[in-house]
Amino acid sequence: MSHRTIIPIGPYHPLQEEPEFYQLLVEGEKVIDIDVRIGYNHRGIEKLSESKSFDKAAYLVERICGICSTSHPLAFVQAVENISNIEVPERALYIRTIIAELERIHSHLLWVGLAGHFLGYNTIFMWAWKYRESILDVFETISGNRNHYGMMKVGGVRRDMYEKDFPWITRELDKVVDKVIMLKGAVLDDPVIHARTKGVGVLTKDDIINYCALGPTARASGVDIDVRRDDPYAVYNKLDWKVIVRQEGDVFAKTVVRVLETLESLKIVKQCLENMPKGEIDSKPKDIPPGEGIGRAEAPRGEVIHYVRSDGSNSAVRHKIRAPTFMNFPTFKKSIVGQTVTDATIILAAIDPCYCCTERLTVIDAKSNKEVMGSRELIKLSQEKTALLKKEMGIE
């Protein structure tokens, strides 16, 4: 029997932007087990959201993650709109779609760049991030900020788009289309990338269903799910686009899905710019009645679900968030075991993990484990809240 070693990665490691801690148990060069410890980024957003009004909470949930900073507020405002069936003006729905799709383009380009970097192709890293800048310029024109756009609002969007910007935006997007097609050629026809990613970190269709994985991770393994088509929100059902599905389930398939999805998203944005109607952008809802609402949105990494319960006041009494990485990262157990250490980084990166989305959930999940930091404080907070509620309601 060969010697077993543990390779620790993190929490501060040059490969990672966020603090997270992996332990790889290896035997020779083969990975036989993995342990992921997260929670460094936990910021208690669900709890904070209960102390903020619905308008402020849209800003707060935007700061869950810097990369999916439209999916979260979009899912949240849809959840709040779901409580009282608020009608959103059509122009606002078009603007929401544009922002959500531009975000998908920049997120996928970012991932392609990082994946290239992990494989030792720094040229792809530099290219992809350079072309991503044009998308960020478009964002800056529309919303005034490169990231964190602050566009979503219950009942509509916060800012209008100007028709005079459309020709320029279309020109910028056309440039990006050319570059993405070039990038597609560079990534998908490269024999070395084929050798490094084909057959690596394979997730079968059954694995995906067992682990409830989502987004491009699922679509690369032949599971045809996409909230944009299955439960249409915004204006996706009025546009012409298709869901990209591949059957192989390896890292290469995930790359293909993301690159092709980028092209689809560019198509969607262009259609929105052409068909956008004139009119109001905000239905200005006054009060949110008591009730429950669910909002779903397809983030670049998979489906985001927000659940909001309102008691008729101006803030949520319960706000529950389920981010896509929470469902995707347990698949590491299937995809990485049996692979070599050299392929570990690209397999870990293949699901496009975003731990700042996921963290909030893990701490609540860790109730049974007393060692995990935060659980005791959480229980204490919860007990205090019950006591407070009892006092307010006059029950002793």
Binding site: P11, Y12, P14, E17, E18, P19, G39, Y40, N41, H42, R43, G44, I45, K47, L48, S51, Y59, L60, R63, I64, C65, G66, I67, S69, L110, G113, F125, M126, W129, K130, E133, N145, R146, N147, H148, C354, C356, M373, G374, E377, L378, L381
Partner: protein, 141 residues
């Protein structure tokens, strides 16, 4: 100016410490390395190890888990080291001020030399902040 400081200012190596941020400032830091901004013009390179770092680029609200680790990372860095707090969270805890995992502002954990506000600050602002502190140290010594 002593030799050590002169060497530091010529080509400062940066190390990135995220202490509970939303990824955005971190992405903008990496953006600085890419062709449009390209901080390698100023001799800045992202260092792989804290032991090689001259500048710590810190982001985030300093969560309970990260506070001891940030302190330890700072202690491991060779001195003199410049600490740059990037983003509204690192400067003042921003929107997460009332969170139960937020501890104290970053400047109470490690001595911060430069504050770059913004949510997130643009790469231009990050570059301007870092070059300003280099200029200041060069003049004062």
């Amino acid at each position: 100016m002593n030799l050590k400081l002169k060497a530091l200012l010529k080509s400062p190596w940066v190390f990135h410490v995220a202490t509970g941020s939303c990824n955005n400032c971190d992405i903008e830091i990496i953006d600085c390395l890419t062709p449009r901004y390209d901080i390698e013009r100023f001799g800045m390179v992202l260092a792989g190890s804290i032991r090689h770092a001259d500048i710590l680029l810190c982001t985030g609200i300093v969560t309970k888990q990260c506070a001891p680790r940030l302190k330890r990372a700072y202690e491991q860095a060779p001195k003199p080291v410049i600490v740059v707090a990037i983003g509204a969270c690192a400067c003042s805890q921003g929107i997460f001020k009332d969170s139960y995992t937020a501890t104290v502002p970053m400047d109470q954990v490690v001595p911060v030399d430069v504050y770059i506000p913004g949510c997130p600050p643009k790469p231009e602002a990050i570059i301007a902040g870092v070059t300003k502190v280099i200029e200041k140290i060069r003049k004062s010594s």
